[in-house]
């Protein structure tokens, strides 16, 4: 780290940020801020500096000051009971979600927490899930101290309202691993016992031990039939109950045929049976299922509003004291304090302060809304600016947002996807199989009854479309991984297939097409002299209003002293610079008639000097980079924009999206949902791309709901896929690639069909024997797996993903 000290651009020893101001030098190291330095000192004191040796600059920036009184609600026994998963006389166990975790240093530090707080007896990290499981002695430390310690070293756990819902995190699903293990065990042993059959040399052996081997294999196959293969039978049965054929039906049929023919042959001592093929098939197909099931544990796709709200809020007691209470315990009539950047947890009336509520996440309005004393503020907004006092008028569970969320139309009818390729193929498969089986039966019955039964059963066995059922999970599984590498995370593998069918793409505007944090400021009016600009900037420098801040940042100039500065909440500001009186604010405040209709819709700030209008500032959204390119790539699809904002950006959107795109403004969350529903009723396959709670309904209603987020660990509404904003420009590429994968699946089907034709030819002639089955089945399964894997990899490389 000495090198960092010598160079001009210094990076923080703790977090690796460049030190913008003068770096703080301490202990021969440079730090960007006091926060980072404090963490270093804490670790140094406790001999935990290995943290810095494992990775370079592993720390999390401590720039944002920590308000530890925030954690006071954790002292509440009720809250604690909801968070803790196990408690006895001495210890408590619980699991936190820590999204900041990012490297091996983090794991090391988090697992050495006991050195910082002896009350913590054990801490174990699950890095992929970004979770830390803690055991602490509640006699020596408290939940609050543990959380405060985590926050102090930069790993503040994310505790949201959902955690206190009493819904304990589901245990990881181990069933598939059990099934796979048992199938592998049985497969291996049955194959060993079947080995003598493969060689005619072992005929004498077979005669002596045939029935012993047979019965042993039968016993070994029972767990496979009853436990491992259960999933296939259940899905097939459910399919029949709903009167449709899915891919599992021919599989279940084939598996049953295999097992019962083997049973018959072993009991009657007419042959060795096909139990090796049977167990092998189940094993291979379970591998496919396992592969398909492994998705992104870290990401939650099914969050609801409760994981958006914080757990605690500052309550103002009657004697003026502040106390942190759990949001769930808020009652009507409570007074609460909301600070800058905090969420409003319940519908409330503004009592004191200037409320600038950023509703962009809830309603899609791009500019913060100003509220005056006495107005109702709906839950979900984020306060920007000074701290405000509110009186709660509705309990959290009764609030507008909560009601909206619980609206029945918001819940998507989760019907099983019937039209997947595999299911359609399965339907045809079963028809063809039955025809061929009946044909061979009809052909053989007059000639040889024994042969007829054998041929009939052989057809059913060989037609078991295991290769078919392996193709889809492997192709989709690899595609999901390819997408994941490019920061596009799918909820499950079936989303790939839906993606390929998308013909309509609906975008939300605020936060999706536009950068949420940036806005362009443009000035219209008389040309400003440098002095005038300087005066404007000087006056603005005294205001914390977000609009003032934006204009302030757009002007490059020094600041002069301002006299008689006054701020009128909700109207504007005034001040004197060099004896010129400046008024900056709304049209009515500055005494100006608004110009034109369009200007009315735009957020506009007027500037007058000594009563003379100079001009006005308007704010434009900044569209994400690469937007033009995506829209070009999506050209063959129908495009639409749903915006909760007003229509002042219409002209620019038309220019971007072209004439044919449907633009809808002032859309409420329900209207957005209905719009998507309407498109679906016209038999469009709709993809909705949105970011906020206001899109939540539309995201669920659409065939594929994509939540766009700047940080994947942040809250995002429930959806089918999460797209990192940095990969937004690849959206068109993703859609195209999903189409390519569908072609790969078809090719894989063709490969497996070749095997089936060969097998069927042998089967109808009655030549199908255990040895043929033992060779053909694994080869077809393996070749399908290899073909699927390789072709997806090659296709991804070609597509540049």
């Amino acid at each position: 780290m000495e090198a960092a000290l010598q160079t001009n651009v210094q990076t923080c020893y703790h977090c690796g940020d460049t030190c913008e101001k003068e770096p703080i030098l301490a202990h021969d190291k440079a730090f960007c801020c006091d926060g980072c330095k404090t963490v270093y000192e804490l670790l140094d004191e406790n001999n935990l500096c290995t943290y810095y040796n494992l990775e370079q600059n592993p720390g999390i920036s401590g720039k944002e000051a920590l308000n530890e009184s925030r954690f006071a609600y954790l002292d509440d026994a009720g809250v604690e009971a909801q968070l803790v998963s196990f408690r006895n006389d001495a210890i408590c166990k619980l699991t936190f979600y820590v999204p900041q975790m990012h490297c091996s240093s983090c794991i090391w530090l988090l697992e050495n927490l006991f050195k910082l707080n002896p009350g913590i007896s054990e801490s174990t990290v699950n890095f992929l899930r970004k979770e830390i499981s803690l055991t602490y002695l509640h006699g020596q430390t408290s939940l609050r101290e543990v959380v405060a310690l985590l926050a102090r070293i930069g790993y503040e756990p994310e505790i949201t309202l959902a955690d206190t819902d009493g819904k304990k995190t589901t245990k990881p699903n181990r069933e598939i691993i059990y099934k796979l293990g048992i199938a592998a065990f049985c497969f291996g042993n049955v194959m060993l016992l079947a080995f003598p059959d493969y060689f005619s040399v072992a005929n004498s052996l077979q005669r002596t031990f045939g029935s012993f081997f047979g019965y042993l294999s039968l016993i070994l196959s029972l767990p496979v039939l009853i436990y491992s293969a259960r999933g296939f039978f259940i899905t097939a049965y459910e399919g029949i109950k709903q009167r449709m054929v899915n891919i599992d039906l021919p599989i279940a049929m084939g598996l049953q045929a295999l097992f019962f023919v083997s049973l018959y042959q072993i009991v009657t001592e007419t042959g060795p049976g096909y139990l090796d093929s049977f167990t092998g098939l189940v094993f291979f197909m379970l591998i496919g299922k396992y592969f398909q099931q492994r998705t992104y544990d870290t990401l939650s796709f099914d969050r609801d509003y409760t994981s958006y709200f914080p757990v605690s809020v500052t309550l103002l007691k009657e004697n003026g004291e502040e106390e942190a209470v759990a949001v769930r315990n808020l009652e009507v009539g409570n007074r609460i304090r909301i600070r800058n950047q905090e969420l409003i947890p319940a519908d409330a009336i503004l009592l004191r302060g200037t409320a600038m509520i950023d509703y962009s996440f809830v309603s899609g309005e791009s500019e913060p809304v100003e509220k005056v004393t006495g107005e109702v503020i709906y839950a979900g907004g984020r306060q920007v600016g000074e701290s405000i006092e509110l009186e709660v008028v509705k309990a959290v569970s009764q609030g507008y947002l909560t009601q909206l969320w619980n609206n029945t139309i918001f819940s998507k009818n989760e019907s099983q996807s019937v039209g997947t390729y595999a299911n359609i193929a399965g339907k045809w498969f079963i028809i063809v199989t039955l025809i061929v089986a009946a044909g061979s039966l009809i052909y053989w019955v007059p000639r040889d009854t024994d042969m007829a039964v054998k041929a009939f059963v052989s057809v059913l066995i060989i037609a078991c479309p295991c290769a078919l059922s392996l193709a889809t999970p492997f192709v989709h599984g690899h595609t999901v991984r390819v997408f994941g590498r490019n920061k596009f995370y799918l909820k499950n593998t079936s989303v790939v297939e839906t993606l390929a069918k998308i013909d309509t793409v609906v975008f939300d505007k605020t936060g999706t097409l536009t950068e949420p944090s940036a806005a362009e400021v443009s000035y219209v009016g008389k040309t400003l002299t440098p002095e005038q600009e300087q005066s404007i900037k000087s006056v603005l420098s005294h205001s914390t209003h977000p609009l003032s801040q934006r204009i302030f940042q757009s002007i490059n100039s020094d600041i002069k002293s301002v006299e008689n500065f006054k701020e009128f909440a909700g109207k504007g500001i005034t001040g004197e610079v060099d004896n010129h009186v400046l008024l900056i604010g709304s049209a009515s405040f500055t005494g100006i008639k608004p110009v034109g209709d369009k200007a009315l819709l735009n957020t506009t700030v007027y500037v007058t000097m000594d009563g003379v209008l100079l001009g006005y500032y308007t704010f434009f959204n900044v569209y994400r980079s690469g937007l033009k390119q995506i829209l070009c790539e999506l050209d063959d699809r129908k495009l639409a924009v749903l915006s909760g904002d007003n229509s002042h950006e219409e002209a620019r959107l038309v220019e971007l999206l072209g004439e044919h795109a449907a633009l809808n403004f002032n859309q409420s969350p329900v209207q957005k949902l209905e719009y998507v529903e309407q498109l679906k009723n016209q038999h469009h396959q709709v993809m909705m791309v949105g970011d906020g709670l206001n899109d939540a309904g539309a995201l669920r209603q659409s065939d594929v709901g994509v939540a766009l987020t700047n940080s994947i660990t942040n809250f995002s509404p429930s959806c089918d896929a999460i797209l990192d904003a940095t990969s937004f420009d690849k959206l068109g590429l993703f859609l195209r690639f999903s189409k390519t994968t569908m072609r790969i699946i078809l090719a894989t089907f063709a490969v497996s069909l070749v095997y089936n034709v060969v097998g069927l030819t042998l089967a109808v002639q009655g030549l199908f024997s255990p040895i043929v089955s033992a060779i053909l089945m694994p080869i077809s399964s393996l070749s399908v797996i290899i073909f699927a894997t390789l072709s997806v990899k090659i296709a991804a490389k070609r597509a540049g993903l």
Binding site: A3, I107, N126, L128, R174, F185, L192
Partner: protein, 60 residues
Amino acid sequence: MVIIFLMIAVSVTVAGCFLGAFLWAVRSGQYDDDYTPAIRMLFDNEAVTDKKEKPAEPAS
């Protein structure tokens, strides 16, 4: 050739033991996280050092 009965019995029993071990491993949660243990095992156990002692410089 009767020895084959014994051999098969032994082999299936041994295999059964391994299956049992596997099921126990899954049950005890060893398959829940297949990433972190791989990193954890690389951490060195440090000797208890004096508080004032400077940490070793990171290999860059």
